[in-house]
């Protein structure tokens, strides 16, 4: 039930009349659908919702959402969003960014948004490539990625978005796949409910420049073995419950163990604890194919958000003070000149 909206809005009510201009088959379509569905299911108020993006394929997103939207400049959406939230903390702010926008040109702003813990949702569409500029490798591209700018393969080590976010001080981390429509709304709702900066990495297929780069772990056929969907308090199981994650206490890493007859406790499988930062660190670093890829809400440990602290401090420091401009400009040591004598020019 929804008390906020008089008439319940449908996913389509969150779509604008603008023609969507992503390449046919782009993963962005699925994410747009997932977000519009989430908005409807949450009973979001369009007038209170602001989508803010930078530059890149994903950053066209706001034009397709029937909410307030600001398509800003490359990498700067987090900075702009900070001003929006400080000016009006009641707005519900969603930042749409990509691997290039959010981790390359805008990496600095992302770092500071996360450490400050601005209350907003960051959806980072990771396609490991620069799409809009026609296919150069990106900061998340794996070593050896061949692209127009790296014809012989890239040689620099990629950034891992969730590891970066955790290092920056993010208190909410989640991962999802563009096509995982069943799970996406719940993950986005959790991100939305979290007070503070929620960082969501979405594996997004760029069908034109980096097709199937995630396919080894996103294909439905093998997904049971290649993906592990996490739920707080539940054992970390995958492969239809036949395998689980256990902490190897000798050298502190997660390892795969077989679970016999569903007895995960006997196998030493850990239950997921989303408040455990160390566990989150280990989960985001699991790589296919040696390990399953961790998906769902990986980490959630709320703290008061930046704009709330700013508002609180502003109110505290203003309390009881006289707001008199005339008095303000007269402050300090003053003197009176009484007699008018004309100054010679």
């Amino acid at each position: 039930m929804n008390d906020m909206t008089p008439t319940k809005l449908k996913p389509n009510d969150f779509a604008t009349d603008q023609e969507v201009r992503w390449c046919p088959g782009c993963g962005d379509y699925a994410i747009l659908k997932g977000v519009q569905r989430t908005m409807a299911e949450m009973g979001a108020r369009p007038e209170n919702t602001v989508f803010i993006s930078g530059i890149g394929c994903s950053s066209r997103f706001p034009y397709y959402m029937e909410t307030y939207g600001f398509h800003t400049i490359h990498g700067r959406a987090p900075a702009l969003a900070t001003g929006v939230k400080l000016a009006n903390p009641d707005l519900d702010v969603w930042i749409i960014t990509g691997d290039g926008d959010g981790l390359s040109i805008g990496g600095n702003h992302m770092l500071h948004l996360l450490r400050r813990n601005l209350d907003c949702q960051v959806l980072l569409f990771n396609n490991e490539i620069y799409g809009l500029t026609k296919g150069q490798y990106s900061p998340t591209s794996r070593i050896g990625t061949r692209s127009p700018s790296t014809p012989y393969g890239s040689v620099d080590a990629p950034a891992e978005p969730c590891t970066f976010a955790l290092g920056a001080g993010a208190r909410f981390l989640a991962r999802c796949i563009d096509t995982a429509q069943k799970q996406m709304p719940d993950i986005l709702k959790r991100a939305h409910a979290h007070q503070g900066a929620s960082f969501v990495e979405l594996y997004q297929n760029c069908i034109v420049y980096n097709d199937d780069v995630f396919e080894p772990f996103t294909n439905k056929k093998d997904s049971a073995n290649t993906q592990i969907w996490l739920t707080h308090g539940e054992p970390m199981l995958f492969a239809k419950g036949e395998k689980g994650l256990k902490l190897n206490r000798d050298d502190l890493h997660l390892e795969i163990v077989d679970v016999v007859d569903g007895d995960w406790e006997a196998a030493g499988v850990l239950a997921h604890d989303e408040k455990n930062r160390t566990l989150a660190q280990m989960l985001v670093e699991m790589r296919h194919p040696t390990m399953p890829v961790a998906l769902g809400v990986i980490y959630c440990d709320p703290k008061p958000s930046f704009e709330q602290d700013v508002v609180t401090q502003n109110a505290k420091e203003s309390a009881g003070k006289v707001v008199d401009l005339g008095a303000l400009i007269r402050k300090g040591q003053t003197w009176e000149v009484n007699q008018k004598k004309l100054r010679e020019q």
Binding site: T16, Q18, P46, E47, N48, V50, I52, I55, P62, Y63, E66, T67, Y68, G69, F70, H71, T72, I73, H74, R76, P78, A79, L80, T82, G83, V84, K85, L86, A87, N88, D90, L91, N108, H109, L111, H112, V310, N314, E317, S318, K321, V322, V323, L325, G326, L328, I329, R330, K331, G332, Q333, T334, W335, E336, V337, K340, K341, R343, E344, Q345
Partner: protein, 614 residues
């Protein structure tokens, strides 16, 4: 003692005096200068100051590059510059003497702390022999005594450590200078009591040093012939006065300007010399609806300000040249999305890091042309510390009435310099309260007769829309790459900004008028020296006028016709001729440049000479 004072020669009457305090950056020269300024203001003289400090926070002691100086010019006539050449140089160490001697007037007075002129300090300042003892200063009047030892003596009873005790040297020196000008010490003692409220022993010891320096005046008068001066009160308009620096005045102007347009002020900034005082001042004014945000970088600072404006507040960002360069792309976004925004540039010597603590006016091109695309923006320039207040108010009006970013050009000299301010009545200013659009569904690019678009705050039901840096359709506000549409939008943005000229006053003259043969055109902090130079030349019988431009862009509508009426146009600037080029471009007039980029303000004499030269 009293009888002796009577016997002493009468205080010399002076119309104006320039004093320069110079010492190590750790010697507290800025503080001394600041307190002497206050005392001068309270004595009723008109004044102008010039703080001149090194870029290094604590440069190695005793070196020439660690010299910090503070110059004050005060008098009974109107004072508009910090003075061409000091009459009195107070040198707290050999380096201070070395760096500042050149500026001193021939025959000027040097007061030196002989106690600091030991072999080590002399060597550090690059002196082979002690200038106080050889004949090298014979063309000046030299009064030297051991201020360090006298200070230690004066605070002995407080049992401070040597280092702590010597910190009071500046107060001792200030005491002596107060004696020279017959000033009241009480306001300084009051200030010490406030400053050291938590350490009363320091308030007492500093006051003791101040009193000792003051008392020493008579001894120095007897033994070394140190004179006293009398500078009368200036004849100024009646009213309530205070001293104000450009940094303070601009901050207050922004708060007042935001209040007059009835919006909360959002200030996003990143620390940079010499712009930081704005952030520091505004951070303490939360009760006036001010939110300050120290961003992670210059770009974030302006983007956050744009975000705040988008959300309905008045976004302001501030920096100096290098930081303004970083903000360029975001300024374009504000132009494109037609959101109000104020960008303050406290100019400094450039390019690149340049001369962070020295002044220059070399960002005029950057302000006018420093963005990609045709990205016009109104530009205002402040001429003095006091002027910053009105300019800031005007910027708030233009930004909100025309839905446009506005740039304020000020500079390092204005930011740090102080002058007396006849505090205005807030009721004298016209309010232009903003109402955000609420109502029927409209295109976000619906414009009023001034071509300003509607300002719709997110949160307003029924008016959801999308804006951004991509070109938008003139009618609908949707993305539009069309040729005709881009032409129309570019023209509209241009015409909107040009239309600001309809709302600004005609260009007037500071001195002279259209009948003179020559006009000196200035902008920004060259106001003082130009005004004085023109005044002097006029007294000498030359028909020369002074015109000072506040509205750099768009320019007042009558400016072109006015300039075209003059045979000769001189444009003094602390750059290589930027306004000169703009005037030539806009009005096809033969504007002649006078340029100086030494990091120091113009001297009156330099402008006088240039006027004589053409």
């Amino acid at each position: 003692m009293a009888t002796r004072l009577k016997e002493s020669p009468a205080a010399r009457e002076r119309e104006a005096v320039t004093v320069r305090f110079a010492g190590d950056s750790g010697d507290g020269m800025q503080l001394t200068g600041g307190q002497f300024t206050l005392s001068t203001a309270l004595a009723g003289s008109d004044l102008a100051t010039f703080p001149d400090f090194p870029a290094e926070i604590r440069a190695p002691q005793g070196t020439t590059f660690g010299v910090s100086a503070f110059q004050i010019n005060f008098g009974s006539d109107a004072i508009e510059t910090a003075g061409d050449a000091p009459d009195i140089l107070v040198a707290m160490n050999p380096a201070g003497l070395k760096v500042n001697l050149e500026a001193l007037k021939p025959g000027g007075l040097i007061i030196a702390d002989a106690g600091e002129f030991g072999a080590r300090n002399l060597k550090k300042a690059g002196y082979e022999a002690n200038p106080l003892e050889d004949d090298s200063l014979k063309d000046y009047q030299l009064v030297a005594f051991d201020i360090s030892a006298l200070t230690l003596e004066s605070v002995k009873e407080f049992g401070l450590g040597n280092k702590e005790a010597l910190r009071s040297k500046n107060m001792w020196t200030l005491g002596l200078v107060l004696w020279m000008f017959d000033r009241d010490r009480q306001p300084i003692i009051d200030w010490l009591n406030t400053k050291f409220a938590k350490k009363p022993e320091l308030a007492l010891s500093n006051a003791a040093a101040l009193n000792a320096g003051h008392a020493y005046g008579e001894t120095a008068e007897m033994q070394q012939g140190l004179g006293r001066y009398h500078v009368g009160a200036a004849e100024v308009e009646p009213g309530l006065y205070r001293t104000v620096t450009g940094g303070e005045s601009l901050s207050l102007g922004l708060v007042a300007g935001a209040s007059l347009v009835d919006l909360p002020l959002f200030f996003g900034s990143y620390p940079i010399t010499p712009a930081s005082p704005l952030l520091h001042t505004l951070a303490r004014l939360k009760e006036f609806g001010v939110t300050t945000f120290q961003a992670e970088d210059e770009i974030a600072a302006i983007c956050a300000a744009i975000g705040a404006s988008y959300a309905g507040q008045l976004g302001v960002t501030s920096s100096s040249g290098p930081g303004i360069a970083l903000k360029g792309e975001a300024m374009g976004l504000a132009v494109m999305t037609e959101l109000p925004l104020i960008i303050v540039n406290s100019q400094r010597g450039g390019p690149s890091t340049g001369l962070p603590t020295k002044t220059e006016q070399s960002d005029l091109y950057q302000a006018l042309y420093g963005r990609n695309g045709d990205a016009p923006m109104p530009i205002l320039a402040t001429r003095s510390p006091v002027d910053c207040f009105e300019v800031a108010i005007e910027a708030c009006r233009i930004a909100t009435q025309y839905m446009t970013p506005v740039m304020i050009l000020t500079d390092g000299y204005i930011a740090n310099a102080a002058e007396p301010w006849a505090v205005p009545e807030m009721s004298d200013f016209t309010a232009h309260p903003v109402t955000h659009y609420e109502g029927e569904t409209v295109s976000p690019y619906k414009r009023d007769e001034k071509l300003a678009r509607v300002w719709i705050r997110p949160g307003t039901p029924g008016l959801m829309h999308r804006i951004g840096g991509i070109e938008k359709n003139y009618e609908t506000g949707n993305i539009d790459y069309g040729a005709d549409n881009h032409q129309k939008m570019t023209d509209t943005r241009q015409n909107k900004v040009l239309g600001v000229a309809d709302s600004i006053p005609d260009q007037g003259f500071e001195l002279g008028g259209p009948d003179d043969d020559m006009v000196v055109v200035g902008w920004g902090s060259t106001f003082g020296p130009i005004h004085q130079a023109v005044k002097k030349t006029r007294k000498a019988g030359r028909n020369v006028a002074h015109l000072h431009i506040r509205h750099i862009w768009p320019m007042p509508k009558n400016l072109g016709p006015l300039l075209k009426g003059f045979e000769k146009i001189l444009v003094p600037e602390m750059n290589t001729g930027q306004l000169k080029t703009v005037l030539r471009d806009q009005f096809l007039v033969d504007a002649k440049p006078l340029n100086k980029v030494s990091g120091q303000p113009f001297k009156i004499a330099e402008i006088e000479a240039a006027i004589g030269g053409i």
